[in-house]
């Protein structure tokens, strides 16, 4: 289809091999966000946000509701074009690329509120393979052998990913019939089907019960250990953030107010003020939403 897809494809195969062999040879490229500003009709949603996601690390974005976390994700995945600033993945500038081009570079995301499509879990996961496959309208309509083989191979990989995320038993069930937690996991699995180098998770455990939260946290930790991918995490569950994140950036009213390791951020007075509106000193580690 185009060079980038091919490149992403090659990378994907590499990641797949890495996954199968268990030896991590290629680290994902560094994701750098520099001075991003986004305005909507006079309202500044993001104001000079910068951070860098080190290869293979988990970077959390936290902040009160309306702090601009999801807008930031929309910039990273190309859904929203910033007024100024740059986002680079390795050497590639992302802010001028369409969402599907960014996906082809290996940036996958989930949504805060579940966005699955009709059909089965398998259908949703195979949508995640879209950027890695190439069967076009003609080949698919005529059911050419190449297209059928490709579909078979990628279906097998999608099934593996379903097993990995605990969806194996639901692989052929319609998504509409799954529980809330399972549907959230379908989103995660679908993003993983892109064989991403950078995974953007927008509140992956919101609305889940304790057991489901634990399970998802486990999956994310495993992924990162096994696949070596970078994760950017937006989450209100501070327990989860503290456990998973290597670095944390705190946003408030679109401005970055703190940055550092979870421990540093937890003690930052600015952060406490943003969350609680007072100088309270002992309110960290709890669900601040």
């Amino acid at each position: 289809m185009n060079d980038r897809t091919t490149e992403a494809r090659a990378d994907a195969t590499r990641t797949t091999k890495t996954h199968a062999g268990g030896t991590s040879t290629t680290a994902p490229p560094e994701l750098a966000v520099r001075d991003i500003t986004v305005r909507f009709a006079g309202l500044t949603a993001l104001d000079g946000v910068s951070f860098t996601v080190a290869p293979g690390s988990v970077h959390a974005l936290i902040g009160p509701n309306g702090a601009g976390k999801s807008t930031c994700f929309n910039v990273l995945s190309g859904l929203c074009r910033p007024a100024s600033g740059a986002v680079t993945l390795g050497g590639t500038e992302l802010t001028r690329l369409a969402p599907h081009r960014i996906a082809a570079l290996g940036v996958a995301r989930t949504f805060q509120n579940i966005v699955t499509t009709q059909g089965t879990v398998a259908d949703n996961l195979m949508l995640g393979r879209h950027a890695l496959t190439r069967a076009g309208f003609t080949a698919s309509a005529l059911r050419l052998p190449g297209a059928r083989r490709e579909q078979r191979e990628h279906l097998a990989r999608a099934r593996e990913i379903a097993e990995l995320t605990g969806l194996g038993a639901h692989f052929d069930s319609p998504v509409g019939l799954l529980s809330y937690g399972d549907r959230k996991r379908v989103e995660l699995a679908r993003a993983l089907c892109l064989e991403p180098r950078v995974l953007l998770l927008d509140e992956p455990v919101a609305g889940m019960n304790a057991a489901e939260r634990a399970r998802t946290a486990e999956v994310v930790a495993e992924l990162r250990a096994e696949l070596g991918l970078s994760v950017v995490l937006v989450e209100h569950d501070m327990g989860l953030v503290m456990r998973l994140a290597d670095e944390v950036t705190v946003l408030d009213f679109g401005r970055p107010i703190a940055h550092g390791t979870p421990d540093e951020v937890r003690r930052d007075p600015e952060v406490l003020r943003a969350y609680l509106g007072t100088d309270a000193t002992d309110a960290t580690g709890e669900d601040a939403a």
Partner: protein, 380 residues
């Protein structure tokens, strides 16, 4: 396990074979009236399947389908006829289909960027401008009176009543011969459309309909896929147009008006949006209803014979009331149409046979409201 799958496969193959044989029988038993109903239904089904891909699967409303039917019908007539290049008819058929696809492609700057129901209004332009061109470009289209359509001939075999032909004691006229052509083209449409729906492009289109954002971040090129869906749907419409032209033996501009576009929309809505089998059922319903009502007008209550006093409810009107109402009722009370009704009935039957603990997969999950299907924060 694999034995069961094999058994299932052979059973499917057996069903397919039975259906194919049954569909080959009518020319030997039914008269021209019924064969024409069948033929028009098959042509309509081909066009409807194309529209189902666009409007049902990709969620792009089109009221321009009649235009692409016209491109196919007139394209064939011109390519194979005089005035026109006078190509061999067998070559004119695929070229006419490609012409329809090309016309769809030329519209792609609009079809790729205007989405959902808004495309419905934009495509109105195609029908009205197309009709104007058909009336005006007399040297190509024959103007108001249209043109007669050269019969298709494939390797010396001609699809008309010219030379007498008897098969198994049954005289084969134009209808009998065209029946098999229609069947072959319909089978091709069915095969390719199902192939599309169940593979990568089909999933991408369905994703576009359910959530453009999710589709885009999963790597689907939104504008390209919207345009491609439009082109594919135009090509099916073109094929339907060719078959209709061969069946009518004459093409006239007034047939390809807005009413025809709305008919096709009615077919896919009544059939259940987005399914190949549903579009086929809807096509048969919308096509056969007025013809049957015309034939049996004298036996139907409330319906006057065609040509009776002005203002009486004729069969054509009665049919239009029925399917207009059907659109309203289907959408408000049974959104998945005939296809959904059939599926529910089948599932109920199956459940009665084998009680299972599997959750009821027959209940169609309501599509996520588009509002909820967007990320919470504003994405311009």
């Amino acid at each position: 396990m694999s034995d069961r799958i094999r058994a299932l496969l052979t059973r499917r193959r057996a069903t397919l074979l039975t259906v194919a044989v049954l569909l080959c029988l009518p020319p030997f038993y039914l008269d021209a009236f019924w064969l024409r109903i069948g033929l028009f239904s098959m042509a309509a089904a081909i066009g409807a399947i194309g529209l189902a891909l666009l409007s049902g699967t990709a969620g792009q409303l089109s009221l321009g389908h009649a235009f692409f039917l016209a491109v196919g019908a007139y394209g064939y007539t011109w390519l194979a006829g005089d005035p026109g290049p006078g190509l061999p008819t067998a070559l004119a058929v695929p070229l006419a289909v490609l012409m329809a696809g090309l016309a769809g492609g030329l519209f792609s700057p609009v079809a790729g960027r205007v989405k959902g129901i808004y495309l419905g209004i934009a495509t109105l332009a195609l029908v009205f401008l197309g009709h104007h061109v058909l009336l005006t470009a007399e040297s190509v289209t024959g103007g108001f009176n249209g043109r007669s359509v050269p019969p298709l001939s494939l390797g010396g075999f001609t699809f008309d009543a010219d030379r007498e032909l008897t098969v198994l004691g049954v005289p084969f006229g134009a209808e009998e011969r065209l029946w098999f052509l229609g069947l072959a083209l319909f089978a091709l449409t069915w095969f390719t459309a199902r192939g599309l729906l169940r593979s990568r492009p089909g999933r991408a289109l369905a994703a576009l309909r359910d959530s453009e954002t999710a589709a885009a971040v999963m790597g689907v090129d939104v504008a390209r896929h919207r345009s491609a869906a439009f082109v594919v749907s135009s090509m099916y419409a073109g094929l339907a147009g060719v078959l209709l032209a061969l069946a009518f033996r004459r093409v006239v501009p007034d047939y390809f008006g807005l009413v025809l576009s709305v008919d096709y929309l009615a077919m896919i809505v009544i059939g259940g949006l987005g399914s190949v089998a549903g579009a086929t059922a809807g096509a048969v319903f919308v096509t056969a209803l007025p013809l049957l009502m015309t034939r049996y007008a004298d036996q139907l209550p409330l319906v006057a014979a065609p040509g009776s006093a002005e203002g009486a409810v004729g069969p054509t009107e009665a049919a239009r009331y029925l399917y207009g109402a059907a659109i309203v009722l289907v959408l408000l009370y049974a959104p998945d149409g005939l296809h959904g009704l059939a599926r529910r009935a089948r599932d109920r039957l199956r459940r009665r046979r084998t009680p299972t603990t599997v959750p009821d997969t027959a209940v169609p999950s309501p599509p996520p409201p588009a509002a909820a299907a967007r990320p919470k924060e504003h994405t311009p």
